[in-house]
């Protein structure tokens, strides 16, 4: 499981091993203040990161 979230200490405390940094509590997979294209680009990049980390041994938090 890849965990996309903003509150990373909480994710760690709950046992998540693959963590991908989200883009804010209110819109973890998107840009609340961006254009539609930017919103989609952020989401695609983050989901790619999530798939990528699942095939690597956990090292910490992955940026997206």
């Amino acid at each position: 499981m890849a965990h996309v979230c903003t509150m990373i200490p909480v994710a760690r405390a709950s046992g998540s091993r693959w963590i991908v940094e989200g883009h804010g509590v209110l819109h973890p997979l998107g840009r609340g203040d961006g254009s539609t294209d930017e919103d989609e680009a952020v989401r695609l990049r983050t989901v790619r990161s999530a798939i990528d980390v699942l095939s690597r041994a956990p090292e910490g938090v992955s940026g997206s």
Binding site: T6, G15, L26, L29, L44, R48, L54, A57
Partner: protein, 345 residues
């Protein structure tokens, strides 16, 4: 001499507003606000809440280092004798905010800090070197929480001895006890007892954390069935199964088979722990169906599982959360799902 107490609150209890003001940066105002008024009255003539720092929950969650730096700059010059944070009850963002700011104040300003929260609040794990008074899980217990916190504050300011059980705070792993033996002698006595299978009592209690086994790595995503899960509260349109907006005991199953993207025509967002404006406007921000479909078309992943899962992760007990997780996992095993992307707000 009246001692000076600073109170740290979020935007709601600081009377700025609800979730729509959760982005508020740290600010300071004179005197007590909200529950600080009760706190101030219970401190009597010995202490007063002379200032209140208010920080939006989302500001603290999205910018934790910046928030702590700003809070230290605001509190530093105030010459406080003690800082009270919260109580946060079972509010996760607020609890972590209280714990992070409080820990920094205690560590870097040398000011004692008292906060209050429910045992299961994730802020408990984030707190270090501060007093965490046990509270109930909801704000209906405000009066009792403030009473216990005020009582502890007065004892600390007076230099009186305090005790976790008597003063209602979570054990901090530190107990002041006189013993004729040195620490080295006590340690060796414990080791000898352990080696001889005799009973002994550790001086440092360990918080028992249930180990989570390391899962297998995903060796070939292009052949894998990938599923999407969120605790952001997505439900079927109209919420036909009346799933609650918090304190969840179950999960919803969203049929995304054949969908290229999620829209507000397909689902609703039901969650009382955050402002759902952005996720309601575009539910892909919680369940990234559009992005996952694209990766499926590109061959990066094998198949996007046709069922997505959701619950509302606010004030959900750890026991219920584990049960929900196991229930979802069982369905994934039955359906051949190899990996999951979980999105949290």
């Amino acid at each position: 001499m009246t001692r000076r107490v600073v109170h740290y609150l979020n935007q709601f209890f600081g009377q700025v507003g609800g979730e729509e003001f959760a982005h508020e940066p740290p600010s300071v105002r004179e005197g007590p606000v909200g529950p600080g008024v009760l706190l101030d009255s219970l401190l009597g003539d010995d202490a007063e809440v002379f200032a209140t720092v208010v920080v939006g929950d989302n500001h603290a969650a999205d910018k934790p280092e910046e928030t702590v730096d700003t809070v230290l700059r605001l509190i530093g010059p105030l010459e406080a004798d003690l800082v009270v944070a919260g109580p946060a009850f079972n509010s996760g963002r607020y609890g972590v905010s209280c714990a992070s700011a409080g820990t920094a104040v205690a560590d870097q300003l040398g000011i004692p800090v008292v906060t209050g929260m429910y045992d299961e609040n994730p802020g408990v794990d984030a707190a270090s070197g501060i007093f965490v008074v046990r509270t109930g899980d909801r704000a209906t217990g405000m009066r009792a929480a403030i009473q216990h916190m005020a009582s502890l504050v007065l004892k600390l300011l007076a230099g009186d001895p305090v005790d976790p059980a008597a003063d209602h705070y979570l054990p901090r792993g530190r107990v002041n006890v006189r013993d004729r033996r040195t620490a080295a002698e006590r340690s060796v006595d414990m080791l000898l007892a352990k080696m001889a299978d005799r009973p002994f009592e550790t001086e440092i209690p360990h918080r028992v954390i249930q180990p989570i086994p390391m899962p297998s790595l995903l060796t070939d995503p292009s052949q894998a069935r990938i599923a999407l899960v969120t605790d952001g509260g997505i439900v079927e349109k109209g919420n036909p199964r009346h799933l609650p907006s918090g304190r969840s005991t179950t999960f919803s199953v969203i049929d995304i088979g054949g969908l290229e993207s999620l829209t507000s025509d397909d689902v609703d967002v039901v969650h009382h722990g955050y402002d759902t404006t952005h996720t309601s406007a575009n539910p892909n921000r919680l369940l990234p169906v559009d992005a996952a479909r694209r990766l499926e078309r590109e061959g990066v992943i094998g198949t996007l599982h046709e069922k997505a899962y959701s619950t509302a992760g606010v004030s959900t007990t750890i026991t219920d959360a584990r049960r929900i997780g196991r229930g979802i996992a069982r369905e994934f095993v039955n359906d051949g799902v190899l990996a999951v992307i979980l999105t949290s707000t």
